[in-house]
Amino acid sequence: MKLEALPWIILFLPLLATAVITLFTLRCRTKSSLISISAVVAGFILSLVYIHANGWHSEHTETSRTWLSIGDLHADFGLKLDALSLMMLLIVTGVGGAIHIYSFGYMHEDKSMARFFAFLSLFTFSMLGIVLSNNFLQMFIFWELVGVSSYLLIGFWFEKPSAGDAAKKAFITNRLGDFGFLLGILMVWGLLGSLNFGVLEAVMTTNPAALGCCATLAGLLIFCGAMGKSAQFPLHVWLADAMEGPTPVSALIHAATMVAAGVYMLCRTLFLFDANALHVIAYIGGFTALLAALIAVQQNDIKRILAYSTLSQLGYMVMAVGLAGPTPAMFHLTTHAFFKALLFLGAGSVIHGLHEEQNIWKMGGLKKKMPVTFWTFILGTLALSGVPPFSGFYSKDSIFAQALHQHNYVLFTVAVLVAALTTFYMFRLFFVAFLGEPRTEQARHAHESPKVMTLPLLALAVFAVIGGFIGIAGLYGAQFHLEGESLTLAQQFLEPLHAPFALACGLGAVIIGLIAAFILYKKAATDPLPARLGWLSRAMRDRFYFDEIYQATFIRAHDFIASVCDLFDRWIVEGACIGLVRGGTDLTGRALRLAQTGNLQTYALLFALGVALVLYFALGK
């Protein structure tokens, strides 16, 4: 392997940036942001250099140092550099770099900009750590680091109570998933005796039944981790609230990278899952996709619509993994990173231009005022909806084809339905927020964002358009040993024709969604759906009452257990045990204090009596 040191440098550059910012330049906004931006951009360039030198599929893909060795547990600190992680490396540093640059414009007015960039670099470091890990233990550590940096960034405006609550909710919900993940890791280690992905894969390939009767359980426990990070049902509730963070954070963490970590982890460890576990994963993914798409239809906050859309697309990816299709899953993850980051940054540009207005019904008529944002946003919308030949079309189509290939017609139907809903809610957002007449004074006085914000939009838009046929799917395909031949550009362009039924259904869904959105929202001043759907629309708007249900069941039960523990602690531990010891010591102390008169002569008398007593016992007998 050439340039072995490069990946280490790429990994630790952002950490170095965090350290330098927090230790030295916290007072200087420009310097801090430049340090952070240059760390991630340098990472991107060095990644390109490394890939150029080694190619995507080199023979030797690991570089590691022994980190700890306790008994039978040998944990390395190592980097795995195959096509899967190299592609993720490019996504994290590339999309992340665009978002860093954008943040420079977006956060310019904020007084804690240096702190923001320190957190952003910490996040980049943790995310790179997950992507490059070659073993479960290291991945888990970075997994938690990502959780922490996400917590810090969601709660960045901590003076707002809602932001603090959202940060806590995200962190705690993730911890629930991580608990299962940790149990799964321990189970795998206990049964297979190793944590290294390469070793585990070799063991599972030679002996597929190595996990025995615990295979399904171990798989589902590991999936718990992905369920938390990738916000799958029933742990999906945190993602929408996480939109309390600054918009670049929503783009970077809650759309392009962190939430993708769950899917990435599933693809990385796919060999561990047996058929039953995959089945459960597929259905949870499909259900999440449908649920989130329905909720997105009736949201009015521009960021929340995108958040539920993210949930829905993550559901697609998880479903694809469950259908034994890591290639479509990773393909969709990659294209989704491009267009969803683009959409979030576009939304951020709109919010910036309208002075922190997020309600789409208070926007409108932005085409002339914000041309760059308008055009890039429509490209992102087309890509997300799956209109050919934009990137989302190819990746979504590969998921449909995978569902058909597995003869899972239930999930295929769900996927097509979700595609129609996706087009519908995205064009609802687009028609209402961007077209028509300005609905408020703020929308009338909207202004385009500065260059530093629009340039990243343009860069991401390019990839959102061409991402579908530049060989990304082929790279992942070769990684998962599914297809050997590499396709030319033209072949990739026409790839969906191999599964004409999936193609037709996908296009039909897009057209239906588009027409429905056009009829309902082209000239709408208010939302016509609540009148037509009644209670269903209310349920969608209120997110199917999941927060309320959790509040009434889990949180109530948790509060009850907590109060019992509190009583036990207060009366048994504190009152009886500690109280007795403390009271006894106190009383003895008070009694003994009486002997201390402070008078010299009392001490002299006692001293003399003591001496007399000693003499009596020593000599008198």
């Binding site: 204090r593 201390q596 008169t597 402070g598 008078n599 010299l600 002569q601 002299a604 008398l605 003399a608």
Partner: protein, 101 residues
């Protein structure tokens, strides 16, 4: 009547007891200090008489040391008492209870 060891020791014991009583009962620091000296000299007397009756010079050597050290100790102690008096305008032990809680 020939004076034996027990006579010397009795005197020494009486001196020591007087000194001890003085330390315990008197209130003036200077007097307490003098009583302490009395106890030291009672011990000296016992040592010298042991030395005399055992035909051994060790006790006498020890007495020299005690006298020397006592001289040094007296100078330090008196200096402390004088300093204390200047600060408090009193040399009575009942007033020295600042260490008490």
């Amino acid at each position: 009547m020939h004076a034996g060891l027990e006579h010397y020791l009795t005197v020494s014991f009486l001196l020591f007891s007087l000194g001890l009583l003085g330390v315990i009962l008197r209130r003036n620091l200077l007097v307490i200090y003098m009583s302490l000296e009395l106890m030291l000299n009672a011990a000296n007397l016992a040592l010298v008489s042991f030395s005399r009756f055992n035909d051994n010079l060790n006790g006498q050597v020890l007495v020299f040391f005690i006298i020397t050290v006592a001289a040094a100790e007296v100078s330090v102690g008196l200096a402390l008492i004088v300093a204390l008096y200047r600060r408090r305008q009193s040399a009575h032990v009942e007033d020295l209870t600042t260490m008490k809680l």
